[in-house]
Amino acid sequence: MRRVYLDNSATTPVDPEVAELILTYYTTKYGNPSSIHSFGREAKKALEDARQQVADFIGAKSAQIVFTSGGTEADNMAVLGTAYANKHKGNHIITSAIEHHAILDTCLYLEKQGFKLTILPVDEDGLLHVEDVEKALTPETILVSVMHANNEVGTVQPIAEIGKLLKGKGIVFHTDAVQSLGKIPVNVDDLGVDLLTASAHKIYGPKGVGCLYIRKGTRIEALVHGGGQERKRRSGTENTPGIIGFGKACELAGQRLEADAAHLKNLRELMIKGIMETIPDVKLNGHPTERIPNNVNVSIRYVEGESLLLSLDMNGIAASSGSACTSGSLDPSHVLLAMGICHEIAHGSLRFSLGRANTVEDIDYVLEKLPGIVERLRAMSPLYDNERGCNSCTLKK
């Protein structure tokens, strides 16, 4: 059976060139970069080269990159590290309703500890409005964290404008760029952010590696204590092979950024057009133009998302509903709910996230299979015939 992987926002295959490089650092150049002998120095040098590659990709200086165990840890470090380091200055944090759980849950954890939290709404396209940030600011505000591109619906947020708004206010500005990196240009100065999260496994690098960019002068408390690696900001023996893989993945992504984006956009448009033309009662979720090039998110009315996923999977097609983390869970996507989409229709949403390796044939295959699957499930649906269901949401028959 043909296997078509369309879940690249959940994770990507590691580029073969990257994997080869990692292997070398596993088996022959295996020194601990803290060691002063030649094995250690060799690893240290490669580690610092990788730091430079990552820094170059986001327009930063290498000393401003702190490697972490992934995007989740970097998000935690941004939120908790800033809150703890600035609690003498204030206790108010602003974020958005559509953040990844790594941000949202961490903010809620701080709220339980006594911090004040404002969770900003988004519009029906999943877009945050800069005025809402402005209105939420208080003299107590120490951190604003808004993601660059959303992982579920792909909407790209006006980070540069928020950056301008916050400039000079002494408020730390963080963005989670896990989903935008490698898809659209990401530059810390253009965005005007103090902190930025990235994750290797979303850009054809290894799982378990990420980084937090920390602008010079931004105070962050370390979360992990110990040997004092990463200039005392993140202790623990560095995952040198993984970090080197991350560096290489950034280099490759930088070289291919435009070509990748054009390729993805082409497939995406093909797919959206195909779905809209062949299946009735479908809504495209997310912003029509302000979206990353690899995201297709649709609500397919009257059918339930997991059944859709399983049916696709039985045809060799890997997609997701909501984010990977929560697709094992029962709650409908908090992102879709925040966009005003009702529970029932949110439950019937599907995310196809395209990757570098996908082809037109992949898309054709999906377009060949999907209509039949939907039809079969709709025939089974108690919502389909009696036009019962949701009146509160934007998707009407």
């Binding site: 059918v303 339930e304 059944s307 399983l310 039985m314 029962l330 089974m380 108690p382």
Partner: protein, 119 residues
């Protein structure tokens, strides 16, 4: 998996003796069961569901299990029995089997109520 891939008894019964519809309080999914009952025996049964894979499979299984049974026997069918008949469900999916069992019980209740009001 077979009960998801090829669910049995999908559909409706036009003049059903009893219809039960429930919404799953845990996940919000919906399930409807139609019964055709004659002489206290379930002669035919159909279902429709807006639910996950496990909901589809358990619905299909429940309908297979009750066909030909008396309503007393059908009332004994619990979600556990359904899950067992499917060779088990992961813990996170146990609530899905409630959907089918509850809808069945609702359908029988509806039948009983109709009988009583009809007489």
């Amino acid at each position: 998996m077979d009960h998801f891939t090829n669910p049995r008894n999908v559909g409706e019964i036009a003049e059903a003796s009893g219809v039960g519809e429930v919404g799953n309080p845990t996940c919000g999914d919906i399930m409807r069961i139609y019964l055709d009952i004659e002489d206290n025996i379930i002669k035919d049964v159909k279902f429709k569901t807006f639910g996950c894979g496990a909901a589809v499979a358990t619905s299909s299984m429940v309908t297979e299990m009750v066909k030909g049974k008396t309503i007393e026997e059908a009332l004994q069918i619990s979600n556990k029995a359904v899950a067992e008949a499917l060779d088990g469900l992961p813990p996170a999916k146990m609530h899905c089997s409630n959907l089918a069992a509850d809808a069945l019980h609702e359908a029988i209740k509806d039948y009983v109520a109709k009988q009583q009001s009809g007489k």
